[in-house]
């Protein structure tokens, strides 16, 4: 469209790239240098605040040795998987409903879906305590119905964390799935139906495969974001849920062990890179270009 006939000859000039200078210089100070420092620190061995060796793999060995960090990583991955799966199970029907509805209704649904994103994490967590906590809405209603005297344990466990995080990350599945669904030509589904396929068959063999790019993109995004979960597990998991980010936070804030914290952070980065690579492999199967 814009590379049309009026294309001017200077279009290949690199001059517009000068406009990248401010962003690039910002990133040097706030992104590149800090990451280099992080990697350097991860190899530093310190005892009592004094650097003993500037190249040692001790910090990385402790990641595998003590079991605490490794267990936290596994639990983080388990939570991430559960959250991404729930987002998909609940988000897909929402995306389908959005596709079916008209303009205004669609806009309203879209607002519902992104509204948690407009709310601060900590505010959302406070809100969920008011709903799920011992004296929260659900438990008060439960008691009012006389169903039980024992309060339901809806938070301070994995369930609370999953509910709290699905609430906000649902949008990251709904939006790409919706985009994929909108890209499907309804005629394809109609022709499958007119050839005798039931709606269930049309969904499994036509709609779902064609929406896979959105499914993979949304699932990956949520999964990757969950690897860095910190605040929600602290607030809604109590001391019962430990993620790798919480371990890193503890190493920095209370133990001041920058070497180990940095090494663990580098491990988190490697895990994120691995997940992105895996998602790419999956994506290529469904013809997702990038």
């Amino acid at each position: 469209m814009k590379d049309g006939t009026l294309e001017s000859p200077e279009i290949d000039s690199k001059r517009p790239w000068l406009l990248l200078v401010p962003s690039a210089s910002l990133y040097v100070f706030t992104f590149a240098v800090p990451l280099i420092v992080l990697v350097a620190a991860s190899f530093e061995k310190t005892t009592g605040g004094v650097t003993v060796s500037s190249f040692s793999t001790d910090n990385y060995q402790s990641f595998f040795a003590d079991g605490v960090a490794l267990r936290a990583v596994l639990h983080t991955l388990y939570l991430s998987f559960a959250i991404a799966t729930c987002c998909l199970l609940f988000g897909y029907p929402v995306a389908m409903t959005m596709r079916r509805s008209g303009g205004r209704m669609r806009l309203l649904l879209l607002f519902f879906v992104v509204s948690p994103l407009l709310t601060s994490v900590i505010v959302r967590n406070v809100a969920w305590i008011l709903v799920l906590g011992r004296e929260g809405l659900i438990n008060v209603a439960w008691r009012g119905l006389g169903l039980t005297t024992e309060p339901l344990r809806l938070m301070y466990n994995d369930l609370g964390v999953v509910i709290g995080v699905v609430h906000v990350y649902l949008a990251f599945v709904v939006l790409p799935v919706f985009a994929s669904l909108m890209a499907i030509d309804p005629a394809v589904e109609e022709s499958a139906a007119s050839l005798g396929a039931t709606r269930v068959r049309v969904f499994w063999h036509v709609t779902l495969p064609l929406s896979m790019p959105g499914v993979i993109a949304g699932f990956t995004l949520v999964f990757v974001l969950c690897v860095g979960l910190y605040l929600t597990p602290v607030v809604m998991g109590g001391n019962f849920v430990v993620t790798i980010s919480m371990i890193i936070g503890d190493l920095v804030r209370t133990q001041f062990d920058m070497g180990r914290a940095s090494a663990f952070a580098v491990m988190v980065l490697l895990i994120v890179a691995g997940l992105l690579w895996l998602s790419r492999q999956f994506g290529q199967r469904y013809g997702v270009g990038t």
Binding site: P16, G91, G103, L170
Partner: protein, 270 residues
């Protein structure tokens, strides 16, 4: 025939009800929070026995909350225009620069988005600690711009992509200087992208927790002040400050979206 029809209706009904329940789930906590924030009781319980502005009055007269609120607003007020400007420049550069290398530059520019914030916070903490910039607004602003910029580049870039560049060339051929053409023709057209970027930048900054948590010791922002008081006890002042934050972000979003919509002649709706 009717049997199949019934089954199809049932299936549509299942999808519809999952969607309705999910949507209720999305809004319920915020609504409960707003209701609770207007309690006049001395403790949080549902439903409140009396309503009033008691706890809003409390946080707006309490030095700690006011201090945090002022700092959060100051940081967000700097972060938003800076991010918008940098984002517009970067998105424009990507749009107009040569196609070669565009993909790589774009990936680099949005890289902070994929990086877990704990990792970025820890990395920035070490630099900020060495340069004695802990507890400074500058450190917070730099951190927040870094994480808000990718969203700005994506949203502004998306609206630049649908902008028909011939409009600008037409303005130029009619005698407008290039900057004038860009300012008067391009900016109004890409307004929805700019509005979205503004909303996201402000909210990203105002809500940011983990990086600021690492970079601060005493001079905290609202989310950290809420977090710190949560570890004592969940009292109604927390519901009130959370309610205030919620109304502020939603109000700003509504205001900007309404403004953007009127300016673009209601194009968003259609």
């Amino acid at each position: 025939m009717t049997g199949a029809q019934n089954r199809e209706d049932a299936r549509g009904w299942v999808t519809g009800s999952v969607a309705v329940v999910t949507l209720a789930f999305l809004l319920l906590p915020q609504i409960i929070l707003l209701v609770e924030s207007f309690t006049a009781d001395s403790y949080l319980a549902f439903p409140p026995t009396r309503y009033g502005l008691r706890w809003y009055a409390f946080i707006l007269s309490d030095d700690d909350w006011l201090d945090a609120l002022r700092r959060s607003l100051l940081v967000a007020a700097i972060v938003t225009p800076v991010t918008l400007l940098l984002g517009l420049m970067a998105a424009y550069a990507l749009d107009r620069g040569p196609p070669r290398g565009r993909r790589t530059i774009f990936t680099l520019l949005i890289a902070p988005m994929i990086l877990p914030h704990v990792v970025l916070g820890l990395a920035q903490f070490q630099v900020v600690f060495w340069s004695h910039m802990q507890d400074t607004v500058t450190a917070y602003v730099l951190a927040h711009v870094t994480i808000a910029l990718p969203y700005a580049i994506i949203t502004i870039g998306a609206s630049l992509q649908v902008f028909d560049r011939r409009l600008e060339e037409a303005a130029q051929s009619l005698g407008a200087a290039p900057w004038r053409a860009a300012f008067h023709v391009m900016l109004p057209v890409i307004r929805p992208g700019l509005v979205a970027a503004t909303i996201f930048s402000f909210i990203t900054s105002f809500d940011e927790f983990i990086i600021t948590y690492f970079l601060s010791t005493r001079r905290v922002t609202v989310p950290i002040q809420i977090f710190n008081s949560l570890s004592f006890q969940l009292d109604p002042s927390i519901a009130a400050i959370s309610g205030l934050t919620l109304m502020l972000t939603i109000g700003l979003t509504g205001f900007l979206m309404a403004g953007g919509q009127i300016a673009s002649g209601g194009r968003i709706l259609r």
